[in-house]
């Protein structure tokens, strides 16, 4: 019983490891993702311009597999997604697959959390993950 469980755990680890090796790209040591704008705690009227800051790595459009690059994803009012899968694409997970480094979005009035997450050529987060701090803004 214990032995079976042990084998199950080991083999699931193996599967997880090999799928990571397949899909995730290594990030550069010390790479850092951050919001140039807005700043956490800011109150904004009208459309929100979000500017993405990336230190220690470069930007490449989705589909371009080049070492130490990735494209930006903006997470809106949600936590980090599964790290061994492509980032979802919906209202809470926005992809910037054309290499964009900023965006302007409309948000309903109220509080919102924002977080940036770098993804590789197939939209899978890097290993180790490159994500910004979560910021909270208020839209008037």
């Amino acid at each position: 019983m214990i032995k079976t469980l042990f084998i199950a755990v080991i083999s699931s680890l193996f599967v997880a490891t090999s799928s990571m090796a397949l899909d995730r790209s290594p990030s550069a040591e010390g790479a850092e993702l951050y919001f140039i704008s807005p700043k956490s705690g800011e109150t904004i009227s009208g459309p929100v311009t979000v500017i993405f800051g990336l230190k220690g790595m470069g930007v490449a459009p989705a589909g371009t597999d080049k070492e130490n690059t990735g494209h930006h994803h903006l997470l809106i009012n949600t936590g980090l997604p599964a790290l061994d899968l492509p980032v979802p694409a919906d209202d809470q997970h926005k992809h910037f697959g054309k290499g964009q480094t900023q965006t302007t979005i409309e948000l309903p009035s109220g509080k919102h959390t924002l977080q940036l997450l770098l993804g590789n050529h197939i939209h899978v987060p890097h290993n180790p993950v490159v994500a910004s701090d979560v910021i909270e803004i208020t839209v008037k």
């Binding site: 500017i51 470069g58 930007v59 459009p61 371009t64 690059t69 480094t101």
Partner: protein, 161 residues
Amino acid sequence: MNYRVTIAAALVVAAGALAACSNNPIEAVKEAVKSDSASVPGLPRSSSAEGARLAILSPGDGDVISGPVTIVFGLEGMGVAPAGIDIENTGHHHLIINAGMPEMSLPIPADDNYKHFGGGQTETTMELPAGEHTLQLLLGNYLHVPHDPPVASEVITITVK
């Protein structure tokens, strides 16, 4: 003899080499260009997106800075792609230090006055000698040639203490 094709091929090779390593392949590009200056007007410029804007987000014009200078590149209306990658409405950043705009129909020079960010970088930190310096950003395509029309920032002046 189709020199344009030959030069374009040489440029592609040089751009690929630049993406892989660093500085000197620009020299190869220049050589390729020099070898037949008659076909220079045929160099592949990429069109820029309408309304695309390049800005130095930091430092600000007139800033006085001590120590290393972090320069943050802002690009609106287009995307960033590493050198060697030919995707519509993308380019990579070049920082022009204490120099004017280069020739628009040639690859941007690669020297102390013209820094390439062919790895798709969107910021850099550098040491500059004390004194006044001008900085300007210029987007280049996969072959390091400015877009048409060019996408360049305002020139800013900073003082390093």
